[in-house]
Symmetry: C2
C-alpha cells in the first residue's frame, strides 16, 4: 500500500475542459490512484507515510508513448541518412536477424530506463521476444500495452505463439501490462493473414496494434496491388472491428478519414521519424476536424534516435504551425490535449491516465522549473512546450510508485544496463547481406 | 596566461575537409589558442598548469549563434500563439517601451548564462542599450559581435550614438568583442536611412547586421512600395558593400540568390522561430547550391523560447530532409559543416573559430557521451545531431578560459541573475496600449 503526498507543486490538469496550471498544490496518492489534489496546506502531512517535496515543480500526467519498438535502442545511431527501403532491407532487418532473447531483455531495460528519465510512464510497444519486454516493464514499474510483431510469412503457427504471449502477460504486473496482437503492417502481411489476425483477436478479446499508411509509396503500392488504401484494407479485413492502435497513418486518403473517425481506433504520431525519414507529415489538422484521436509516439530509436515524448510534442506544435503557416493554431492548450488526452485515448485508457484529478491512476511526472530556460517563470505551458528539456524531468511515478526521484532511477540498474548493451554492439551492428527477417517492398 | 590540457576526449574536426571524430585525443591550449591536438598520452601532462579530464566526452568547436536578441530572455514565454504583427505591435514593442538599461544588463547576463550552459561560445547580438550587453559579454567570457539596433524614425543622431558605441567596445574584452552597425530592417528604415548607414559603416570600417526578407508578406510589401525585394534594396543602398550578417532571408526571390552569393555576407538561420511563427522555411538547399554561407541562430527568446543552437541544428536537419522528402540529404557531416564552418563564416571569423585544430581560438564545448541517450556509443555525429540535449554539455571554454566546468558556471552568478530577472517580470510584462518603440507594417 502506498500512501504518499507530493507537496507544493504546480499542477497541469484539464479540470473545466481546458489545460491549465494551478500553482501551489498538494497531490495525495492512495495505492495506485490519485485520491486528492488540494491547495498546499489543506491536506495534513502527518497523515501520509511518505512525502515528496516538489516545491516549484510542474506536475504533469506521465507522458504517453503510443507506439514504440523499445528494444531497438540497441541499434541506436546505426542507420543514418539512408532511404526507407535501405533502412529496412540493408540495415534493420539484417541486424535484427542477429537478435537474441537476451539482447531484447537488455535493450528493453535500456529503453524503459530512458523513457522513465524522460518522464514517460506508459508505452505501446511493438516488437519481438516480447516476454523479455514484459519482464522489463514489470521490473521498471511502467505501464505498457505489448504486442509481439508478426509477419505473414511466419504463418498461423507464429501468430498463435503471439496469442500465447498475450495470455501469459494479460493484466500482469499489478495490472500495468495489457497485451494485444501485432501484425506488422499490410505491406508485410496479406489480406488473408490480416483476416486471420482479426478473427483471432475477436475470439480472444484482444485489440490490434499495426503500422498503416506510413508513406505515399506504400499507399500507392496498395492501390496498385489491391485497388484500396491500407486503411481500407485493414477495415475490410476486420482489423478495425476490434480496438486498434494505428501507427503513423501519414498518408490517409479520401474515404480513409471517415473510416478512421467511425471506428474504435487511435493514431500514433512520431513526427521526428517522419521528418528524418523524408516521409512527409501527417494531416493532423484534418484528424482534428474529423475527431480522430491521436497521440504522440517515439517509434524506434533507429529512426527517431531518442525515446523522448517532450521532443515529439514540440515538433508536432512546430510542424502543425508550419503546415498552416498560421502561428495562432496549435495553441499551447491544444498541444496539452493531444499529448495527454490524445495519448490516453490512443492507449484506450481515457478514464485512467492523461489527466491529474482524483480517481485517475497516479502516473505523474514532476518537471523542474528553476533552470535558466524557465527564467523568468511566467507561463508554465509555454515553458513545457517550448523550453523544457526531458532532462528537466526530476521525479516520475507510475501506478502510485516512485520510479525516479531527483533523477535517480529506483527500479533499474542503469550502469549494468549500459554495460550489457554496449557489450552487444559489435555483434548486433553486423549486417548479414543475405539474412533479414522480412523484406520491404515499397 | 592559460596553459591547459584537455585529456581523453573524442574530437570533432574537419581535418581533411569533412567532419569526423577522432577518439582518445588530448587538446593543448596556450593562451587563447589551441596549440596541439594529439593522441592521448603523447603530450606530457606535467608540462601543463591545469588539466581537465574529459574522459569519453565529445569535444566540439563552441557553438556559434549568428543572430540573437539576447536580453529578450526577459520576455520569454510572454507572446505565444499570436500573429507576427500582433507579436510586434501588441506585445514586443509595447513591452520594450518599459525597458531600462539595468533590465538589459540583467537580461544579457541571463542570456549569456543560458548560452554557456548550452555550449555556445560566440554570438552576434542585435539589441538596445548595448553597452550593458557588452559588459555582460566581458564578464561572461564569451565572444560576441554586437550591434545597437536603430530605426529610421530615430534619425541620424541615434545612428551616430550607435557608432559611438562601436568605438567604445571595438576589440575590447581581450579582443572577444567586435562591434558593427545594426539598422533594424528595411521595413523599419527607408532607403535614405539605409544609404546613410552604409556610408557611415564604410567610413568607420564597420560591418552591418540587419534583418532581411523575413516573410513573404515583407517581400510583397517591398515589391509594392519600391518595386524591388528587400535583398535588392540593401544591395542598392550599399549595405552589401560592407561585411554583413543578414538575419533570416526566409523568402529570397529570383535574382536575390546571385546578389547574396556575390557579396561578403552570411545568413543567420533560426528554424524554430520560422516554424513557430508560421513564416515558412528558408530555401537552404538553394543557398547551398549557390554557395551562400549560412549558420544557425537562436533569434530572441520571445519567438524561439530558448537560446539553444543544438536544438536549431536538429530542426535544420529534420526540416531540410522534409523539404526534399529525401532522407539521404542533409547528412550528418553536412550539418556539422553548416553549424560550425557556416557559423564561423557568418561571423566573418572562418580562420579563427568553427574548427578544432592548432592555431584556432580555444573555443571548445565538451559534451558528455555517457547518458542513456548515448547508449550504445556507436556514432558520435548521430548522437550529437539527433540524441544529445544541450543539458549534456558539461564544460565550455572560450578564448582559452574555462567558462563552465561540470555544468557549474564559473563567470556568472546564476542565482543572482535569476532573482534579478524574476523581480522585473511584473513591470516588464505590462503592455502599454499606445506605447511602442516602432510599428510593424506587414
Amino acid at each position: 500500500m502506498t500512501n504518499l503526498l507530493i507537496k507544493k507543486c504546480d499542477v497541469l490538469s484539464f479540470a473545466g475542459g481546458k489545460a491549465h496550471v494551478e500553482t501551489k498544490q498538494d497531490i495525495a496518492i492512495q495505492d495506485e490512484s490519485i485520491s486528492a489534489i488540494e491547495k498546499t496546506g489543506t491536506l495534513q502531512e502527518g497523515n501520509f507515510e511518505q512525502c515528496i517535496d516538489a516545491g516549484g515543480m510542474l506536475a504533469v500526467p506521465g507522458f504517453i508513448n503510443t507506439h514504440a519498438h523499445v528494444p531497438m535502442v540497441l541499434f541506436r545511431n546505426l542507420a543514418e541518412d539512408v532511404t526507407i527501403s535501405e533502412w529496412f532491407n540493408d540495415y534493420i532487418w539484417p541486424m535484427e536477424s542477429n537478435l537474441t532473447e537476451e539482447d531484447v531483455y537488455w535493450g528493453a531495460q535500456l529503453g524503459m530506463a530512458e523513457m522513465i528519465e524522460n518522464g514517460i510512464t506508459c508505452v505501446a510497444d511493438h516488437y519481438f521476444h516480447m516476454d523479455e519486454v514484459a519482464k522489463a516493464v514489470e521490473m521498471a514499474g511502467m505501464r505498457a500495452n505489448l504486442v509481439w510483431a508478426v509477419f505473414a510469412h511466419q504463418g498461423e503457427e507464429m501468430l498463435d505463439k503471439t496469442i500465447d504471449f498475450t495470455r501469459r502477460w494479460q493484466g500482469k504486473a499489478d495490472g500495468r501490462i495489457t497485451t494485444w496482437l501485432g501484425p506488422h503492417a499490410p505491406y508485410t502481411t496479406n489480406p488473408d493473414f490480416l483476416k486471420l489476425c482479426a478473427q483471432k483477436a475477436q475470439k480472444n478479446g484482444l485489440g490490434i496494434h499495426i503500422h498503416v499508411s506510413e508513406t505515399a509509396a506504400q499507399v500507392d503500392l496498395s492501390l496498385k496491388e489491391y485497388g484500396i488504401t491500407p486503411v481500407q484494407q485493414v477495415r475490410d479485413c476486420g482489423i478495425l472491428d476490434v480496438p486498434t492502435i494505428l501507427a503513423h497513418v501519414v498518408d490517409p486518403r479520401g474515404e480513409d478519414f471517415d473510416i478512421l473517425a467511425s471506428h474504435d481506433t487511435g493514431i500514433a504520431q512520431a513526427p521526428k521519424t517522419y521528418l528524418k525519414s523524408g516521409m512527409g507529415l501527417a494531416p493532423i489538422h484534418q484528424y482534428r476536424e474529423h475527431g480522430i484521436p491521436f497521440g504522440l509516439a517515439t517509434d524506434g530509436a533507429v529512426s527517431n534516435n531518442t525515446l523522448d515524448i517532450m521532443e515529439q510534442m514540440r515538433l508536432l506544435a512546430l510542424f502543425g504551425k508550419y503546415q498552416t503557416m498560421d502561428s495562432t493554431c496549435m495553441k499551447l492548450e491544444e498541444l496539452m490535449e493531444i499529448t495527454f488526452h490524445g495519448g490516453a485515448k490512443v492507449m484506450h485508457l481515457p478514464e485512467k491516465i492523461g489527466d491529474l484529478k482524483p480517481g485517475m491512476l497516479a502516473d505523474i511526472t514532476l518537471i523542474r522549473q528553476d533552470g535558466l530556460n524557465s527564467t523568468p517563470k511566467a507561463n508554465s505551458l509555454a515553458y513545457l512546450l517550448y523550453c523544457a528539456k526531458s532532462s528537466d524531468v526530476d521525479t516520475v511515478l507510475c501506478n502510485g510508485k516512485v520510479l525516479m526521484q531527483g533523477r535517480k532511477l529506483l527500479t533499474l540498474d542503469k550502469a549494468r544496463i549500459q554495460q550489457e548493451v554496449q557489450s552487444r554492439l559489435q555483434r548486433l551492428s553486423q549486417r548479414m547481406p543475405n539474412e533479414r527477417i522480412a523484406f520491404y517492398p515499397a
